[in-house]
């Protein structure tokens, strides 16, 4: 019965309710962001400015009682602007480390494709590791550490598209999209008084969040489901329109995401449904299509849907194993 009535893990449910107070019609994005957060991954938001990316991240940070840092990437931004820098203190006669925005809990990296690859990599390095190196010294990152990077798909001029290897670092890639008319009207109504973000209260402490992250790792993935994941990922590699398929890192990412999603759905085991649902978000930025496929109008999402439609869902234990 629990599967029918209680849809979300209770704590997460509160977080979502918080976000819903501030941002209208972005439930799915909010949910997926939490998936990435719980799976210790990061999110790449690809969308036009002004659709509420910042607001989403800020609300999330506030709900979780986390540091929120924002980096606006510009072409002249330096890596040290991201990581921090040591400054000579004439009073103490010592170099003092002034930490950069990366040393926050939740980091919004706005328009990441506007800065130089060098600066980009200073952020991306930290995303995969638990620490960063500043002037030869390892500086541990905070826990939890969650990056939400955004990139603007329209303005190609003066941008440095992220290389594939870097894209791989993001657990999920989301698109926000415009709100519906009704949602937008509601949005206007809400912003007329005090902005609701000021009323947001933390519902989860940092410690609790870390504990939840640890719990996510305990979510059970049955062999039938891992098999399903592997078959799915291999399917993208074999598709005609794909130049470069999803790497094994993609499989791991999918499984991690699925675990987090199952957890949010208040389950301690992963369903093929979870995998199916997450596959486009986890896999689409991890594959490169052939020029022909692009020309014919294929998209990574389309190819994933195609592979999924050909893949049998495991409904029986594999007796032969």
């Amino acid at each position: 019965m629990s599967s029918q009535t209680v849809l979300y893990q209770p704590k997460i449910s509160e977080v979502l309710r918080n976000i819903n107070k501030v941002i209208i019609g972005k439930d799915e994005e909010a949910l997926l962001s939490i998936v990435a957060l719980l799976a210790k991954g990061h999110v790449l938001l690809e969308d036009v400015p002004g659709v509420g990316k910042t607001m989403l991240v800020r609300t999330l940070a506030k709900s979780l009682d986390c540091d929120f840092k924002r980096i606006q990437f510009t072409p002249d931004l330096l890596p040290s602007d991201v990581t921090g820098v040591s400054i000579y203190n004439p009073k103490t006669l010592e170099f003092e480390f002034r930490s950069g925005p990366i040393l926050g809990n939740i980091v919004l990296a706005d328009e990441i494709n506007r800065t130089s690859p060098k600066t980009q990599s200073s952020l991306l390095e930290g995303m995969e590791e638990t620490s960063i190196t500043v002037e030869g010294e390892a500086v541990p990152l905070k826990k939890p550490f969650f990056v939400m990077a955004t990139q603007n798909p329209i303005e190609y001029e003066g941008t440095y598209p992220l290389p594939e290897a870097q894209l791989d670092r993001f657990l999920l890639k989301l698109k926000m999209g415009y709100p519906s008319a009704k949602q937008e009207m509601e949005m206007l109504n809400r912003t007329s008084g005090t902005h609701p973000i000021h009323e947001v209260q933390a519902v989860l402490s940092r410690e609790e969040l870390v504990a939840l992250q640890d719990k996510v790792e305990e979510v059970y993935v049955d062999a039938t489901v891992t098999r399903y994941i592997v078959d799915l990922v291999r399917g993208t590699r074999n598709d005609e329109g794909v130049y470069l398929g999803v790497s094994p890192r993609g499989s791991i990412a999918l499984m991690k995401a699925a675990k987090a999603y199952a957890f949010i759905r208040d389950r301690d085991y992963v369903l093929p449904d979870d995998v199916k649902y997450l596959a486009p978000f986890v896999l689409s930025h991890r594959m490169i299509l052939t020029s022909e496929a692009k020309f014919e109008g294929s998209s990574p999402e389309g190819i994933i849907a195609d592979v999924l439609s050909k893949l049998s869902v495991p409904v029986q234990r594999n007796v032969s194993e």
Binding site: T224, D268, Y269, V313, Q316
Partner: protein
């Protein structure tokens, strides 16, 4: 409480299963009457054995070998003389298998050996025991089988000589009991009532029993319509063209003219069959006698006298139906049996004396003749096995009966003759006796009395008919029906009636079977300086007639059948021609003019009559397997139905399993089966569809949440690796609901 309900459960199962078994027995019972089964009881026993084994639900590793051993044991006892598993035994089995495989390959179905056919039949019994167990106990569905049984009994009753009157009553009672019980227990299960007290049971059992009794009695006692269509038996044809030529025992459902042995139930129409039986080369046309019968049962003829047999030699057959006082003439006939027929009795003319071979050789030393002293049946054996003589020469003394001798014969019959040959059934209607005395009124001697009876039929518009001939039903008497109701019939009707009419007046008479003279062919044969006519005798010439006993003379043949002439020779001595007949030589057939006239009229009719004889006698042996084929066909039909309800059966099986040992494996099977059933009901889960997705789809259709709930449990088991659900009873309930919906 559990114990009580268990006891009730097993009581229920035993009762239901017993009903099923008894119903199945109704399928086998007709075989006894209409089939060539000498050992039907063995089949009963084997069926019971199989049913028992199925019921106690042994592991198949034990039950299969047990049934197999039983099967081999029966086949061994019936067909194989050798010690089981000895070298010879294997040789026989090997030969049988080899032969039958060839037969099957060449599709010569009729050539299968009895052993092989029995094997197939036993396997069928085996399968049925298995199927019925599932049907009755597991699926608790017996309506179809009950209906089939009723249909089967009615069909067999309608199309064969089997009398299904009691069978249908038995079937009805069994059906009521089993269906009532099944319904009772289904209701209990549905309402989850446990049978706690006997009082509750009584409340059910008493109405059930009274309903069964009431409706049986009502049904039995209430008036019923007479048959709405003519008896279809005559219109059925035999599947085998060779039918009727043989001497096979038993009475097939399809009557075809020919010589048969079983005359216990006469009547019914028959069809023509011109299969040649033998060719006779003789001077004149004459009747060929085979045997007589002594006891009239009201339905037909039986041979109830003690079998007195004696070995006779070919040179001296020592069988005479008349005394030495009768004039005879030495004659010789040649018989050739090389046709298709298989007839291991001697066919002989009146006055047979000796037989020999065409060539001068002696018969083989191994050949022996066994004479049944009472009936005159002579069986031929070679080294103990029945054998058919392909050709032989009969030397005989053709009798000529002198009228005055017959008329003046004294009427003091020996006691044993009176005892044996004036027998009549106790329930012979009085009007037959009255008619007998009316007919012979005014005739002062036995010969004229017999002639009066013989002539009665022609004088009273009795008609010769082969197709639309009634079979006496219930208590009706065969002769009574013919004399007073139908007045239509063939030789059996005429001859039996004449015997009965005579016996009713204490004149010893008996019923004789054989062949008429056959058809004169264009050929002539010159044997030993004699020019002989060649007659072809076919199955159609099988015939029955009457012999009347005259002290000092012996048995004199009479021919009451319309359109047939008595071939026996009668003459009047010139000096004694007291009735003014002109008289004459030995061949003077003056008195028999009627008969003579009818001798020519139509050969066809004669053949027909012959047929009739056979019809009465029963079909040839080839027909004897027909009931088996019908049974097989019906059983196959049954199997087909089982195939169509296999999902229901499987559902019932899984329901049982899931209750018996709830767990991951059974649940998985049950769930996957449910998916399969949904697929059959046009709700296919696509391979790429997740269970949850599909469950939503199903629930949307049925507007419930059962499938989602069930799927939730299944997912936990499958994707969470749970060994079983704690809420197995709930799961079971959900599954049962769904499967019910899916199957409905």
């Amino acid at each position: 409480m559990n114990l009580t309900s268990d006891r009730h459960q097993s009581f229920y199962q035993i009762t239901i299963y017993l009903c099923g078994f008894l119903l199945f027995m109704e399928w086998l019972m007709p075989l006894d009457v209409i089939g060539e089964f000498n050992n039907v009881s063995i089949f009963y026993i084997y069926a019971a054995f199989c049913f028992f084994i199925s019921f106690i639900q042994m592991n198949w590793m034990i039950s299969v070998p047990l049934k197999l051993i039983g099967l081999l044991f029966i086949l061994d006892g019936l067909f194989i003389g050798e010690r089981i598993c000895s070298g010879g035994w294997f040789t026989i089995v090997y030969d049988q298998i080899l032969y039958n495989i060839q037969v099957i390959q060449s599709q010569q179905w009729w050539d299968m050996t009895p052993m092989f056919r029995s094997l197939l039949f036993l396997i069928l019994l085996w399968l049925m025991s298995y199927l019925l167990f599932y049907w009755f106990i597991i699926a608790k569905r017996m309506l179809v089988f009950v209906v089939l049984t009723i249909i089967y009994v009615t069909v067999v009753d309608t199309f064969t000589v089997y009398d299904g009157k009691w069978a249908i009553i038995r079937t009805f009672i069994l059906a009521m009991v089993s269906l009532g019980l099944a319904h009772f227990y289904k209701e209990m299960e549905k309402e989850s009532i446990s049978v706690k007290s006997l009082r509750v049971t009584y409340r059910w059992v008493v109405p059930l029993v009274s309903m069964v009794i009431l409706s049986s009695v009502l049904g039995f006692a209430s008036p019923k319509l007479t048959p709405q269509w003519p008896d279809p038996v005559p219109y059925l044809t035999s599947a085998n063209p060779g039918a009727g030529s043989g001497d096979g025992p038993g009475n097939g459902p399809v009557q075809k003219v020919g010589y048969g042995e079983n005359d216990s139930r006469l009547g019914g129409g028959f069809i023509q069959d011109d299969t040649p039986v033998f060719r006779a080369m003789s001077q004149d046309e004459q009747y060929w006698r085979v045997e007589s019968k002594d006891t009239y049962t009201g339905k037909g003829w039986e041979d109830t006298l003690e079998e007195e047999t004696s070995e006779v030699t070919s040179r001296d057959l020592e069988f005479s139906t008349f005394t030495d006082d009768v004039e005879t003439e030495e004659r010789t006939s040649f018989l050739d049996f090389t046709g298709e027929a298989n007839f291991n009795k001697l066919v002989y003319p009146y006055g047979v004396d000796a037989i020999s071979r065409f060539s001068q050789d002696e018969f083989s030393e191994n050949l022996s003749f066994q004479l049944h002293d009472n009936t005159g049946e002579i069986d031929t054996f070679e080294s103990g096995d029945p054998v058919q003589l392909e050709e032989y020469v009969v030397d005989y003394n053709m009798p000529s009966f002198e009228y005055s001798q017959l008329r003046e014969a004294d009427e003091e019959d020996p006691e044993e003759i009176v005892e044996q040959y004036t027998q009549l059934p106790d329930n012979l209607p009085n009007r037959v006796v009255n008619l007998g005395s009316q007919i012979i009124e005014g005739e002062d001697n036995r010969y004229d009395q017999a002639k009066a009876v013989e002539a009665y039929f022609a004088a009273n518009d009795f008609e010769y008919e082969t197709e639309d001939v009634e079979v006496p039903e219930g208590n009706e008497d065969y002769v009574d029906q013919f004399l007073f109701e139908t007045q239509l019939g063939y030789c059996d009707n005429f001859s039996t009636s004449m015997v009965v009419l005579l016996r009713s007046q204490d004149i010893p008479a008996r019923w004789v079977k054989g062949f008429t003279g056959g058809e004169l062919t264009q050929e002539t044969a010159s044997v030993e300086d004699q020019n002989l006519n060649v007659y072809e005798v076919t199955s159609g010439n099988a015939h029955s007639w009457v012999e009347v006993y005259f002290p000092e003379v012996g048995w004199v043949p009479f021919e009451p059948t319309q359109g047939f002439a008595n071939n026996a020779d009668f003459y009047t001595e010139v000096e004694q021609s007291d009735d003014g007949e002109t008289s004459t030589d030995e061949d003077g057939e003056t008195e028999d003019t009627e008969e003579d006239n009818s001798e020519n009229p139509n050969q066809a009719q004669q053949q027909e009559e012959a047929e009739s004889d056979e019809a009465a006698a029963g079909a040839g042996d080839d027909n004897n397997w027909t009931p088996l084929w019908i049974t097989s066909a019906l059983l196959i039909f049954l199997a087909a139905i089982l195939f169509f309800v296999r999902h229901r059966l499987m559902a019932a099986y899984l329901r049982r399993q899931i209750r018996k040992k709830p767990g991951r494996d059974t649940f998985e099977r049950a769930y996957i089966f449910l998916l399969k059933v949904f697929e059959k009901r046009k709700m296919k889960r696509h391979a790429n569809q997740t269970l949850r997705d599909f469950a939503n789809q199903v629930d949307a259709r049925y507007q419930s949440s059962d499938m989602r709930q069930l799927t939730y449990h299944y997912e936990r088991m499958l994707y969470r690796n749970e060994q079983g659900s704690e809420q197995m009873s709930k799961v079971t309930e959900l599954w049962e609901n769904l499967i019910k919906k899916a199957l409905s």
